[in-house]
């Protein structure tokens, strides 16, 4: 047993409202640069839909990920190493910019420079690749909210796999959102495809990164990744990908996408896994057994044997404790409600999803039934508006029983908790029906519905003794101890002397202060101030304006006696 720690994420799709805040903040943080205009490390897809880049899930076409060869051995879908190197000059399976979208800006200058004319000037779209005027025909979320359905949506590779009968249900449109980042796979096919060996998996936390100094732009990783989450920077000629915001994660702060998620649907934590059994698990012959195979390499962080092996592998005590408190471990292994995205790609992805249940309760209520009654929910799950077959193709290699099981647990949680909330005795039979106990259901409910910041994000930090080595602490000021002069106070040579405090540290302290403060904001003279929300607009109550100097006096035009104009 070789224990390794892996950073991972779980997203609760029931809570995603498709607001794209994660995408936008991620883009602002990482890809608002020339050369990666078209790149979204985080994107939110409407499903059913073609995704970004278009039809990326069609591995017959794009050849991403791994497959089990005729000899039972795991190999990349693109073939042998030799074959890949022979194709290096034209990399035939790499999507072109049209599959993503041609990035553009607008000719805003026309709006201010145009001569006087009869019609209002228009800012024309211009390609960011050629600077020529262009027609906008596609973008990263062109089919957002089923835009262009059913024509565009019929090309969804996942939809094409399921039965015609379900496709017809399009009449009663269904959709949900799927936010996607790099999966930081345990068995990453992008890294395996890289001829230069520039893509590596960090030993400490399993984050998959591209070494920009070693990447030579062979583009094989773009083809190798079945999720198409490695991108080619067309200005620098280097591959770029989601970094799991490692400079933030290293200091214990969640990723930008998680931090800014308005639905609070993301959970971050680590799991311990047995690195020796990865190949064996990824080589499982039947696609539908891959979920359990991946579960089987995830180790129980409470098991004394595992703890001992982890310590021997150099994993520190606080990391093991983090693994024990890990929300993603609970969702994956204890409650068994999180599922991997496309386990059949055999990359052992580590961003997992709780499939969406949403429309079932409303749908049941609409038909005159009690939507939250356990019996009704269980019966209805298989006739959900989001077909279980579709979810199964996404999260379980087509195994509908697995998805139904998860949805039943989510339904059971609603029914069980409703009884508690209404002051009725808990019905243990609901919990038993889905193989859980009442306590399990309450714990799961807490994690899914109530969990606060420190429960959703259990992120072990890089150690203090490694301080100066940390990405954001690399100023390494020796005065940066608690309440020391370096901690935001004065340096030894007056204000602002010494290095600057890293922004992430500042944000972290501010956030901590905000989360532990009693009020939203508490200025010193708060008690004397007028709350403008309660002010009726008449007169000027005391405290509306700051005190004037004594000698100024109160004149006839003083605000205190001015009547507001009608």
């Amino acid at each position: 047993m070789r224990v390794m720690a892996q950073m991972g994420m779980v997203m609760n799709l029931d809570k995603c409202i498709g607001c794209h805040t994660c995408s936008v903040t991620c883009k602002q943080a990482w890809t608002n640069r020339s050369g990666v205009e078209y790149v979204w490390f985080n994107n939110v897809e409407t499903r059913p839909g073609q995704g970004y880049p278009r039809t990326y899930e069609d591995q017959e076409k794009w050849k991403g990920g791994w497959q089990v060869g005729r000899n039972g051995k795991l190999q990349l879908r693109t073939g042998s190493r030799l074959k890949r190197l022979l194709q290096i000059f034209s990399s035939p399976k790499m999507p072109s910019i049209q599959e993503y979208y041609e990035p553009w800006t607008y000719d805003y200058e026309t709006l201010t420079n145009a001569p006087l004319q009869e019609h209002t000037p228009v800012a024309q779209p211009r390609s960011l690749l050629t600077n020529e005027p262009m027609n906008i025909e596609w973008s990263a979320n062109w089919d957002d909210n089923l835009g262009g359905a059913p024509e565009l949506t019929q090309q969804d590779p996942v939809l094409q796999k399921i039965s015609a009968e379900i496709k017809e249900k399009f009449e009663q449109t269904y959709m949900f959102y799927l936010p996607r980042i790099c999966e930081h796979c345990i068995n990453p096919s992008c890294a395996a495809s890289c001829p230069s060996g520039a893509i590596y998996k960090r030993e400490e936390d399993g984050i998959v990164l591209v070494d920009q100094d070693r990447c030579r732009g062979w583009r094989q990783c773009v083809t190798g990744c079945p999720y198409k989450k490695v991108y080619f920077n067309h200005r620098t000629g280097k591959a770029e990908k989601c970094t799991f915001c490692f400079p933030r994660v290293e200091v214990g702060i969640p990723t930008v996408c998680s931090e800014t998620c308005v639905g609070r649907l993301r959970y971050i934590g680590i799991v311990l896994y047995d690195a020796d059994r990865v190949l064996e698990a990824a080589s499982t012959p039947d696609d539908q057994d891959l979920y359990m195979a991946q579960r089987s390499i995830i180790l129980d962080p409470h098991d004394p044997q595992v703890i001992r092996a982890a310590e021997q592998a150099g994993i520190s005590r606080d990391w093991i404790e983090s693994a024990q408190r890990s929300p993603i471990y609970s969702l994956i292994t204890r409650f068994e409600v999180a599922l991997p995205l496309h386990p059949e790609y055999r990359t052992m992805p580590m961003v997992w999803y709780i499939p969406p249940l949403s429309p079932v309760v409303d749908a049941l209520t609409d038909t005159g039934h009690d939507g939250e009654d356990a019996g009704n929910i269980f019966g209805a799950i298989e006739s959900l508006r989001i077909p279980v077959e579709y979810l199964a193709e996404l999260f379980a290699a087509g195994d509908t029983n697995l998805v139904t099981g998860v949805l039943k647990k989510l339904g059971a949680m609603r029914a069980y908790m409703r009884d508690l909330n209404l002051g009725r005795p808990a019905d243990e039979s609901i919990a038993t029906a889905v193989g859980m106990t009442g306590q399990d259901i309450q714990d799961m409910h807490r994690l899914l519905a109530i969990a606060k910041y420190d429960e959703r994000y259990v992120i072990p930090q890089i150690h203090a003794e490694q301080g100066p080595r940390q990405e954001e602490f690399d100023s390494g000021c020796s005065l940066d101890y608690d309440d020391g002069p370096g901690m935001g106070g004065w340096g030894p040579f007056g204000e602002a002397s010494g290095g600057t405090t890293p922004i992430a540290v500042e944000n972290f302290h501010m956030l901590a202060a905000r989360q532990t403060a009693d009020t939203m904001a508490a200025p010193g003279d708060k008690a004397q101030r007028v709350n403008l929300l309660n002010w009726d607009g008449k007169g000027a109550p005391e405290g509306l304006f700051p005190d004037r100097a004594e000698d100024d006096g109160v004149g006839s035009d003083s605000p205190a006696v001015t009547e507001p104009k009608p």
């Binding site: 990399s91 790499m94 910019i97 893509i199 030993e203 732009g217 062979w218 067309h234 280097k238």
Partner: protein, 245 residues
């Protein structure tokens, strides 16, 4: 021997070789980030699908041909019993095929570079400058090969090849080159100039041919401790047992 001949066949080769080697070392040390193929495949795929493999495989074949033609002395091939006629037929035959593939590929790639908007926008002055030398070198090389098929051809194995080898013995024999045909002279000079600008162009990607891919494990694990952030580890903070910097 005139001063010009000394300049062309003694000074230029050594200057060019020195820039070639020193330039690559400098570039690798200071511009690892810029060391890339700068692929334009993202912009355009169809023309590249034909042009790029034609060019690259063609020029790789030409490289092997050069190694054989320039590196192996005539006495060696005579010794193993390869007749002049056999050698010549092989060199011209394979050389012409490789040369035409390279030229066809290059033509497609240059056409693509000029006509496909995004690819043209991404072409730097450096690229254009390099293309001139590359094209001249390939054109003269191919011309020499084709002319070599004529009955009254002038060989290179007793002039150019020994001169080329003599450079590496540090005993340059410029007089050999003085007797070579004009075509070979032009080809050699343009190639030497190309080698001199090589380290400063995108051609550096030739030296990252990923042969290590065959022997490394699929998944690369690396500790974040090796080198963190943009700065080197501050003095006094080296880990116990870590490398001394």
């Amino acid at each position: 021997m005139s001063a010009l001949e000394i300049l062309l066949w003694v000074v230029l080769p050594y200057v060019s070789l020195a820039i070639f080697i020193g330039g690559h070392i400098w570039r690798y040390k200071y511009d690892k980030f810029g060391w890339t193929t700068r692929s334009s495949q993202l912009y355009e795929r169809k023309l590249l699908r034909w042009g790029s493999p034609l060019f690259h495989f063609g020029i790789l074949a030409a490289l092997i041909g050069h190694v054989a033609g320039l590196g192996i002395p005539k006495s060696w091939t005579d010794a193993v019993g390869i007749s002049e006629a056999m050698y010549h037929a092989m060199a011209v035959g394979i050389g012409a095929i490789a040369g035409f593939c390279t030229l066809a590929g290059l033509a497609i790639l240059i056409y693509r570079r000029r006509t496909v908007g995004p690819v043209f926008s991404a072409t730097t002055k450096n690229d254009k400058f390099m293309y001139v030398f590359l094209t001249v070198t390939i054109l003269t090389g191919l011309t020499n090969t084709v002319l070599g098929a004529l009955p009254d051809h002038v060989g290179y194995r007793e002039t150019v090849s020994p001169w080329f080898r003599s450079i590496f013995y540090f005993n340059p024999q410029a007089e050999l080159m003085a007797d070579a045909a004009l075509g070979f002279k032009v080809h050699a000079v343009s190639a030497l100039l190309l080698f001199a600008i090589w380290p400063f162009t995108r051609l550096v990607h030739v030296f990252s041919a990923p042969l290590g891919y065959f022997t490394r494990p699929y998944i690369v694990y690396r500790s974040r401790d090796q080198h963190l952030g943009n700065r080197a580890t501050p003095r006094g903070w080296d880990r116990v047992g870590g490398p001394r910097s």
